[in-house]
C-alpha cells in the first residue's frame, strides 16, 4: 500500500517551491502500550498551490491527524512537514503560533464562530489577532463577507444565521487575512446537500488563488467533483492520488 502511495506521490526531491506543502515520511502514534494507535504511517505527499486538494477516506484513517500536523496544530512522531518552504519542526512554539496566524486559514466542521460577535466581527478575528484595530478589521471583514454573499448579514449574530450562512462567515474569516494555506476539515458535514454544495462552490470561487493551497478534508462523495486532486487515505497511509474524473470512473469500474 505504501509502495502505491510513494509511486503515486511526487518523488522525494520535490522541495522546490512549486508545492505549498511537502510532507515526508510522516508518522503519528497516539498513546502507548495497549492503547497505542498509529494514526499515520510514513506518509509522503506534496500539495500544490493554486488548486483544491481533497483529502478523503473512511472514518479513522487519519485525515484530521494529517491536516492537524500540516497546520502546525499537532506534532508528528517522526517525519517532516514543510509549509511554504518552512520546516514546521524547526519553529519555536511562539514562532509556530505566529506562522499559523499569518499564513494559514481554518474552516472547521462546527464553524467555531464566537457566539457573542456579529458576522463581521467574527470574520475580522484573524486581523485583530494580527494587530489590526477593531474598526479597520471589521471594515475589511465586511468587504470579505460581501464577497461570500453575506454583506447584508454583517451585523447578525451567528445564532441568527443558518448553518450554511455560518459556514460562509467561517470561510470569510479563514480568508480575511489572505493566508497562503487554507485547511478545511469536513466543511460540509454539518450541512444539508444543498448548503454543502453551495459552500464548496463558494470555496472554489473565492479560495483558490495561484499562490494559495487549499486542502479540504471530506468523506462526502457528493462533493468530490469540486476537487482538482483527490488524495485517498486508508489506515494511516496514502492509498492513491488522482483527479476527480479518474476517481469517478475508478469508482464505477470498481477498482
Amino acid at each position: 500500500m505504501s509502495a502505491l502511495a510513494s509511486s503515486a506521490a511526487p518523488t522525494s526531491a520535490a522541495f522546490d517551491g512549486t508545492h505549498a506543502v511537502c510532507v515526508r515520511e510522516l508518522s503519528k502514534v497516539f498513546g502507548d502500550g495497549d492503547g497505542r494507535v498509529t494514526a499515520l504511517q510514513d506518509v509522503t505527499v506534496d500539495i500544490a498551490a493554486g488548486e483544491m486538494t481533497l483529502l478523503v477516506g473512511p472514518s479513522g484513517c487519519g485525515k484530521t491527524t494529517l491536516i492537524s500536523i500540516i497546520a502546525g496544530l499537532l506534532e508528528p512522531t517522526s517525519g517532516t512537514v514543510e509549509v511554504l518552504g518552512q520546516d514546521l519542526g524547526r519553529l519555536s512554539n511562539g514562532k509556530l503560533v505566529r506562522f499559523r496566524g499569518e499564513k494559514i486559514g481554518f474552516v472547521f466542521q462546527q464553524y467555531n464562530l464566537l457566539p457573542a460577535l456579529t458576522a463581521a466581527e467574527n470574520a475580522a478575528v484573524p486581523l485583530v489577532i494580527a494587530g489590526w484595530s477593531r474598526q479597520r478589521a471589521v471594515a475589511r471583514a465586511t468587504e470579505v463577507l460581501d464577497s461570500v454573499g453575506l454583506g447584508s448579514r454583517a451585523r447578525s449574530l451567528p445564532s441568527q444565521l443558518s448553518g450554511g450562512q455560518q459556514q460562509r462567515v467561517a470561510i470569510a474569516r479563514a480568508l480575511v487575512h489572505e493566508p497562503r494555506l487554507l485547511v478545511c476539515d469536513e466543511p460540509t458535514a454539518a450541512l444539508d446537500a444543498h448548503s454543502g454544495h453551495a459552500v464548496m462552490e463558494l470555496l472554489r470561487a473565492v479560495a483558490i488563488q495561484p499562490d494559495r493551497a487549499v486542502i479540504v478534508v471530506t468523506h462526502d462523495s457528493r462533493v468530490f467533483e469540486f476537487g482538482d486532486r483527490i488524495i485517498s487515505m486508508s489506515d494511516g497511509a496514502i492509498e492513491r492520488i488522482e483527479t476527480p474524473a479518474a476517481s469517478m470512473s475508478g469508482r464505477e469500474s470498481g477498482t
Binding site: T64, A71, L73, G101, Q110, N112, A116, E121, I129
Partner: protein, 377 residues
C-alpha cells in the same frame, strides 16, 4: 483582543450576571460585616476617643481595658503630678451608677466624673444647656441618645430630676457622645458630685488624665510615670488599641464575624468561581479556535484575566456600594454599629482579587493544556 474578551464575557448573559452576582454577594457580606465589626470595636473604645483634652491615661497596673476599673487612691494623683515631664494631671471617675426615677423605674448609667476645677474629660459638643451649668449643685449632663432612650419622643426638659444612690441629680444639659459598647446612657458630673452618686468606697479614682509638659512627648511622659509610680500609663491612642485588642482576644466577637466573613467569601467564591469556570469551559472550543488561528497562550491568559478583572471590579463596586448604602441607612438607627475604614475596603478588595485569581487560574489551566487540534474534533 480585549474587546473580543469582553464581548465573550458579556455575550453570555446568564453566566455574566451569575459571576457578578457571586462577587457582589461576597463583597457585600465581607464589607458589611467587616464594617459592623469595626463599628463594634470602635464602640469598645469610644469613651477613650471621646475624651480629647488629655493625651495620657494613667491607671492601676491591673487594668486591661477601659471598662475594667480598678480604683486608685487619691495619693497617686499627687505622685503623678510630681513626675518630671507631666504638665498637668487630673482625676477622672468612670463607673456604673444605678438611678431611680420618680415613677419607680430603675436604670443603669455610665457615670463620668470630671475634675471639678478644669472639667477635663467633658463632652465635646453640647446639644442643650451649657457645660458651665455642671457647676451648679447636683447638676448632671446626659448624652442625647440616652435621653431619647429614657424619654422617647419627649422634648428636652431642663431640670428633670432622678436619684442616684439616694442623691438627687438635676439634668442641666444634653451632649453628643459616641455610642458605647455597654449601651447604657452616659451621665456627666463633677468629680466630687459623681463620687456621691455611688456607694462610698475607700478608693474611688478610676483614672488620672494627664498631658505632657512643653518639650515632652506623651510617650516619654508615660515611661516616666510608669518608672516612678509603678502605675500603668498609656497614650490615648495606645489605650484605644489596648481596649480594642482586649475585646478582640477575650471575646468571641472576632470569631463570629470571622465566620460570617469566611462564609461570604466561600459562598461568593463558589458561585463566582464555579460560574466563571463553567463560562471558560463552555467557551473552550472558541478558545481552541482562537489558539489555532494564532492567539498565543499569553494573550489567552490575558483575555481570561481581563474577564476576571472586569467581573471582579463590577462585583466589588456593587457589593461595596450596597454595603455603604446599608451603612448610610443604618445611621438613623443608633443601635447598629457601622464603621467602614479603608482597611475593610482593602480587605474586601483583596478577597475579590483572590476569588478572581482562583477562578481564572483554574480555568486558565484548562485552556492552556488545550490542544488547538481539539477544534477539528
Amino acid at each position: 483582543m480585549s474587546w473580543i474578551a469582553l464581548r465573550m464575557l458579556t455575550g453570555d448573559r446568564s453566566k455574566y450576571y451569575g459571576i457578578v452576582f457571586g462577587i457582589t454577594f461576597a463583597s457585600l457580606l465581607i464589607a458589611q460585616q467587616g464594617a459592623i465589626f469595626c463599628g463594634l470595636m470602635l464602640r469598645t473604645s469610644s469613651q477613650i476617643a471621646d475624651i480629647q483634652g488629655a493625651d495620657i491615661w494613667v491607671m492601676d497596673p491591673g487594668v486591661q481595658f477601659v471598662d475594667d476599673i480598678k480604683p486608685m487612691s487619691e495619693n497617686e494623683l499627687y505622685r503623678v503630678r510630681g513626675v518630671e515631664g507631666v504638665g498637668w494631671a487630673v482625676r477622672f471617675y468612670k463607673g456604673l451608677a444605678r438611678s431611680r426615677f420618680s415613677d419607680g423605674k430603675f436604670q443603669q448609667f455610665i457615670l463620668l466624673g470630671l475634675d471639678d476645677a478644669t472639667l477635663v474629660g467633658a463632652p465635646r459638643e453640647m446639644v442643650q444647656g451649657s457645660l458651665d451649668d455642671l457647676r451648679q449643685p447636683d447638676a448632671v449632663i446626659m448624652d442625647e441618645g440616652g435621653y431619647k432612650y429614657l424619654w422617647p419622643n419627649e422634648p428636652f426638659e431642663l431640670g428633670r430630676t432622678f436619684e442616684m444612690n439616694d442623691r438627687r441629680a438635676v439634668l442641666v444639659g444634653l451632649c453628643k457622645a459616641s455610642p458605647t459598647f455597654q449601651t447604657f446612657p452616659i451621665v456627666y458630673a463633677r468629680y466630687s458630685q459623681a463620687t456621691m452618686f455611688v456607694p462610698r468606697e475607700r478608693k474611688l479614682m478610676s483614672f488620672i488624665l494627664a498631658d505632657p509638659a512643653p518639650g515632652w512627648t506623651s510617650q516619654q511622659v508615660c515611661e516616666q510615670i510608669q518608672q516612678q509610680t509603678g502605675l500603668l500609663a498609656k497614650t490615648r491612642e495606645e489605650f484605644i488599641w489596648t481596649t480594642i485588642m482586649y475585646y478582640m482576644i477575650r471575646t468571641g466577637i472576632p470569631i463570629n464575624f470571622g465566620i460570617t466573613i469566611s462564609l461570604g467569601f466561600v459562598v461568593g467564591t463558589a458561585i463566582a468561581g464555579q460560574t466563571f469556570y463553567l463560562f471558560v469551559i463552555e467557551n473552550l472550543r472558541q478558545f481552541g479556535a482562537l489558539k489555532a488561528m494564532g492567539v498565543t497562550n499569553i494573550r489567552i491568559v490575558g483575555m481570561i484575566l481581563l474577564q476576571a478583572f472586569v467581573v471582579g471590579l463590577l462585583g466589588y463596586g456593587l457589593g461595596v456600594g450596597a454595603a455603604t448604602l446599608f451603612g448610610e441607612l443604618s445611621k438613623e438607627n443608633m443601635t447598629l454599629a457601622y464603621y467602614m475604614p479603608w482597611q475593610v475596603l482593602a480587605l474586601t478588595g483583596g478577597a475579590v482579587f483572590f476569588i478572581g485569581i482562583l477562578a481564572s487560574l483554574l480555568s486558565v489551566r484548562r485552556v492552556l493544556v488545550l490542544e488547538p487540534g481539539i477544534v477539528f474534533r
